[in-house]
C-alpha cells in the first residue's frame, strides 16, 4: 500500500510539466489546486485514520523514499524532468506570464520537497548525492558541447574528434596536478619535469585549456583548409592517435592502467578531514572547513556551473561581436567571405582553437571529478557521438538550447544506466546466456539514441544545420543549380588541379 501511494505521488509530480505545456494560467492554477486538494485530502484521511501526526507521516514517507532501492534516483530524475521542462519554458518562451508560471511552478515543486525534508528531519542524502553527480556530469558535457558549438555552430567546422581535445585536457590537467607519490609506474616524466607535479588545480585547469588549444593549433594548420568531410576524417584520426599515445606511452600516462586518485580542487581545504590537519590559508586568512565529505560535490557543482556560466556569457558575447559575425559568414558561404577579402583560414583557426580550449576545460573538470583517467576517455561513443547528439537535440548555434540538450541527453543516458543495475547481471535465454550489461542495455541504449538522431536528421535537419536559412544544396537538386551560382559551403572546391 505504501509503495503504491508512493508511486502514485511520484507520478503525479509529472503533472505540473504537462500543465506547463498547456500554458493557460487557469489550467496551471487549477492543476496545482487539484494536486494540493487531492493529496492533502488523502494525507488527511490517512493521518486521521491511523492517528499519526502529519510530521510523522511525512517522516515515514521520506524514509521510505530514501530507503527503497532506486527510488531516490527515479525520484530525482522525475524532479529533473519537470525542472527541465520548466527550464525549457523559461529559456525558450517569450511570454512573460508563461515564464513566470514555469519559474514559480518549478520553485514550488522543489520547495515542497525540501520543506518536507526539513520539517521531518530526514535529509534526502541519497537523492541529493545522485542528483549532484548527475548535474555535474551533465554540466561538464554542457561545457563540452558549448565548445563544439563555437566550432560547428558558429563557424561550420566539422569536428568529430571532440574526444581528442577533451582527453588532452583531462590528461594534461591530471599529469600536472597528480602527486607523483601516488602513481605506480613511471611517475610521469622524471628529472626536469618532476618539479612541475603536484601543482594546484588551477594550474592544471589552465594548462589543460592551453594544451587543448595548442593541439587544435597544430591540427588546424594541417587540416582546416580541407573540405568538411576531409576535416571529419582528419579529426577522427587525431582522436584515435591521441588514444594510441595515451595507451602506449606508459611513462607519460600509465598506459591502459590509467591514472587513479586524482586530487580534487580545494578538497583538503573545504572538507572536514578524518584526522586533524592544519587549515589552508589564502593570503594569511584561514579558510574554514565546513563541508561533510558527502557534500563536497555541491562545491564542485558550483564550480562547474560557474564555468558553464562564464562560457555561456563568452559565447553569447562572441555571437554578437564582429568576430562572431565573420564566423557566421564563413559558415554560410565561405567562398563569398573569401571574395570579400576575409582571411577565412585565420578566423577558422581562431574558432577552432577557442572551441578546443573550452573542450580542454571540460576535460580538466571531468578528470578531477571522476578522479580517474584512462585511454577510454577518448572513446568515440560516449564522448564525440553523445556530444554531437546533444548539440543536434539542443539546436546548432543556439547556446541555451545546447546546454539544455546536454542535460536532456545525459538524463536519457544515465537514466537508463540505473535500469542496468536493477536487472540481474546475466540472463539465460534460448540462445544461451547473455551478459545483460554488455549485450542488452549498452547496445540497446546506443541503438535507441542513434534512432533518435536519425529521425532528427530525416525530419528536422535544422537541428544539425542550424537556425539560419537552409543552404542552396538543400532546396534544389544539384543539377538545377544555375551554372553561374557560387558553390555552397558544403562543397567547396578542393585544390584546383585542372
Amino acid at each position: 500500500m505504501d509503495a503504491a501511494i508512493l508511486w502514485a505521488f511520484t507520478l503525479s509530480l509529472a503533472l505540473p510539466g504537462i500543465f506547463l505545456a498547456v500554458r493557460k494560467a487557469w489550467v496551471i492554477l487549477a492543476g496545482i489546486a487539484f494536486l494540493i486538494a487531492g493529496w492533502g485530502g488523502l494525507i488527511a484521511i490517512y493521518v486521521v485514520q491511523n492517528g499519526v501526526s502529519l510530521r510523522e507521516f511525512l517522516r515515514q514517507a521520506l524514509s521510505v523514499i530514501e530507503g527503497f532501492a532506486y527510488l531516490p534516483q527515479i525520484y530525482s530524475l522525475l524532479l529533473m524532468v519537470v525542472s527541465l521542462a520548466g527550464l525549457w519554458v523559461l529559456l525558450t518562451r517569450t511570454n512573460r506570464r508563461t515564464r513566470w508560471g514555469a519559474f514559480v511552478g518549478t520553485l514550488l515543486l522543489w520547495s515542497f520537497y525540501l520543506a518536507a525534508a526539513a520539517f521531518t528531519g530526514v535529509p534526502p542524502d541519497r537523492m541529493f548525492s545522485f542528483l549532484s553527480a548527475f548535474l555535474i556530469i551533465a554540466g561538464i558535457y554542457a561545457v563540452l558541447t558549448l565548445g563544439l558549438n563555437i566550432q560547428w555552430g558558429y563557424t561550420g567546422l566539422f569536428n568529430i574528434g571532440v574526444a581528442g581535445f577533451f582527453g588532452v585536457g583531462a590528461y594534461v590537467s591530471t599529469i600536472l596536478v597528480q602527486d607523483p607519490a601516488k602513481m605506480a609506474v613511471g611517475a610521469g616524466l622524471e628529472g626536469f619535469f618532476a618539479t612541475y607535479f603536484n601543482q594546484p588545480f588551477l594550474v592544471g585547469f589552465v594548462a589543460a585549456m592551453a594544451a587543448s588549444g595548442l593541439t587544435a593549433l597544430v591540427v588546424g594548420f594541417a587540416t582546416l583548409r580541407l573540405r568538411a568531410d576531409y576535416l571529419a576524417i582528419a579529426t577522427i584520426g587525431i582522436a584515435e592517435i591521441l588514444r594510441l599515445i595515451a595507451a602506449n606511452e606508459q611513462e607519460l600516462t600509465e598506459g591502459n592502467r590509467g591514472i587513479p586518485n586524482i586530487p580534487q580542487p580545494l578538497h583538503e581545504c573545504l572538507v572536514i578531514p578524518v584526522r586533524e590537519a592544519p587549515p589552508c590559508t589564502l593570503l594569511g586568512i584561514e579558510i574554514p572547513r565546513f563541508l561533510e565529505p558527502a557534500q563536497y560535490n555541491w562545491f564542485y557543482l558550483v564550480l562547474v556551473l560557474g564555468v558553464i556560466f562564464l562560457a555561456f556569457l563568452a559565447l553569447e558575447r562572441i555571437a554578437r561581436s564582429p568576430w562572431g559575425r565573420s564566423l557566421r559568414a564563413i559558415r554560410e558561404d565561405e567562398d563569398a567571405a573569401l571574395a570579400l577579402g576575409k582571411n577565412t583560414f585565420r578566423f577558422k583557426m581562431q574558432a577552432f582553437v577557442v572551441g578546443a580550449v573550452i573542450m580542454g576545460a571540460a576535460g580538466s573538470l571531468w578528470a578531477h571529478f571522476v578522479k580517474f583517467v584512462d585511454p577510454q576517455i577518448f572513446d568515440a561513443i560516449s564522448r564525440t557521438f553523445l556530444v554531437w547528439v546533444m548539440l543536434i537535440v539542443g539546436g546548432t548555434g543556439n547556446n541555451r538550447g545546447v546546454i539544455l540538450g546536454a542535460f536532456i541527453m545525459w538524463g536519457i543516458w544515465s537514466g537508463t544506466n540505473f535500469l542496468n543495475d536493477v536487472l540481474p547481471p546475466t540472463l539465460e535465454t534460448p540462445i544461451g546466456r547473455i551478459d545483460v550489461a554488455a549485450q542488452l542495455f549498452g547496445p540497446i541504449r546506443i541503438m535507441a539514441i542513434v534512432i533518435i538522431l536519425e529521425l532528427i536528421l530525416l525530419f528536422r535537419p535544422r537541428g544539425l544545420l542550424g537556425e539560419e536559412r537552409v543552404t542552396s544544396t538543400m532546396i534544389e537538386p544539384k543539377e538545377l543549380r544555375p551554372a553561374s551560382a557560387p558553390e555552397s559551403h558544403s562543397h567547396p572546391p578542393a585544390s584546383k588541379e585542372d
Binding site: T223, I446, L464
Partner: protein
Amino acid sequence: MRSQRVDIVKWAIWGVIVLGLIWGLFFVKNGPQFIVNGIRFGSILMLGAIGLTLTYRILNFANFSHGDILIFGAYVALTVDWWLVGQLPEWFPQLAEADMAVRWLAIVGAMVGGAIGAIGIALLIDKLIYSRLRRSAAVVLVIASFGMALFLRALVQAIWGVGNQAYAMRTQLPTFYAFGDLDGDGRFDVFAGALRDLIALAGTPRPEGAVVITMTPVQWVTLIVSLALVTLLHLFLKYTKTGKAMRALADNMDLARVTGINAERIIRWAWAIGAGLAAIAGVFIGLNWGIITPNTGALVLLSLFAAVILGGIGSPYGAMLGALVIGVAQNLLVAPAIPQINSQYKPAIAFAMMILMLLVRPQGLLGEAERKG
C-alpha cells in the same frame, strides 16, 4: 581542357613510393617479409576500400559506417562458418574424415553468407536513411553514417557479445620460401618448404644474405582470392553495362540521370558490391589475425579512408593502389622494421600519409580534380 604541364607532384609521390619500396627491400632487415605482410594486409584493405571509394564518389559522402558493415558481415560469416562446420559432415558423410576440407568449405560458405548479410543490411540502411538524404549536405550524411556505425557496432555486440571470436580454422604451420645462396656453393638457390627442411639444407635457420619469406595457406588464400576478386571487379566495371553505368555515375550523377540511367538501381549495385567485398575482407581479417571483436571494424576504418584518399576518391583502381601502399607502409614503418616506433601506431602511419596526401594532392594518385555535378 587538360593541362599539358608535367604533374610534378604526382611523379614526386610515385618516386617516394618507389624509393620506399627499394629501401624496404634492400635496407631493412627482413624487409621482404614485411613487404609481403604489407601486401597481404593491403589486399585485405583493398576489398574494404573499393566499396568505400565507390559510395564516396557516387553518393558524395564519407561513409563512416563502412568499417562496421565490414564487421557485421564478418560476424554473420562467423555464425555461418560454425554452423557449416557442424553440418557439412552430416550432409556429406564422405567429408567426415577430411577435416581441413570441411573447414575450408565452411569458410567459403561463410563468406557467401557474410556477404549476403552485409549486402542486406547495407541496402536496408540505404533505403531507410541515406536514400532520403540524397540531396542533403555532406555533413548530414556523415553524421548519419557515424550514427549507423555505432548502431551496427551495438547490434553486433548485442547479438554476438563483446569478447573475441574466431573462425573455425586450424592454425597452420607456415611454409618458408628462401631465396639466395642457401648451401654456400656460390650459386643462387630458391627453396620452398617447411622450416626443418630449410634448417637441414643450410645448416642454419637463416642463411646469410638469403631472403626468407613465410606464408601460411590462409595467407596464400587471402592474397590470391583478394587479387582474383579485384580482377573480377575490374572486368565488371570495364565490360558490363552496369559497370560502365557505375563509372558514369561516379563521373557525373546528374548527367547519368539525363541519359536515362536509373541512378537508384546503380546505387544499389554500388552498395552491394561494396558491402559484399567488405564482408569478405572482414572474414580475411578474422582468419589472418585469429580473432574479431565488435570494434575491429572501427579500428580498420582509418586505414580504409587513408587508402581511398591516397588512391583518389571514386577510383576503384586508386583504392587498390592506395590499399597496397598503406598496407606496405604500415608494416615497413613500425616495429619490428623500425624498432623505435611501437607497432600499435600502425593507424597513425596511415593517418599521417592520408594527411600528407590531402595537403599535397587531395585528389589522390589516380583521381581527377574535383568532380562536377
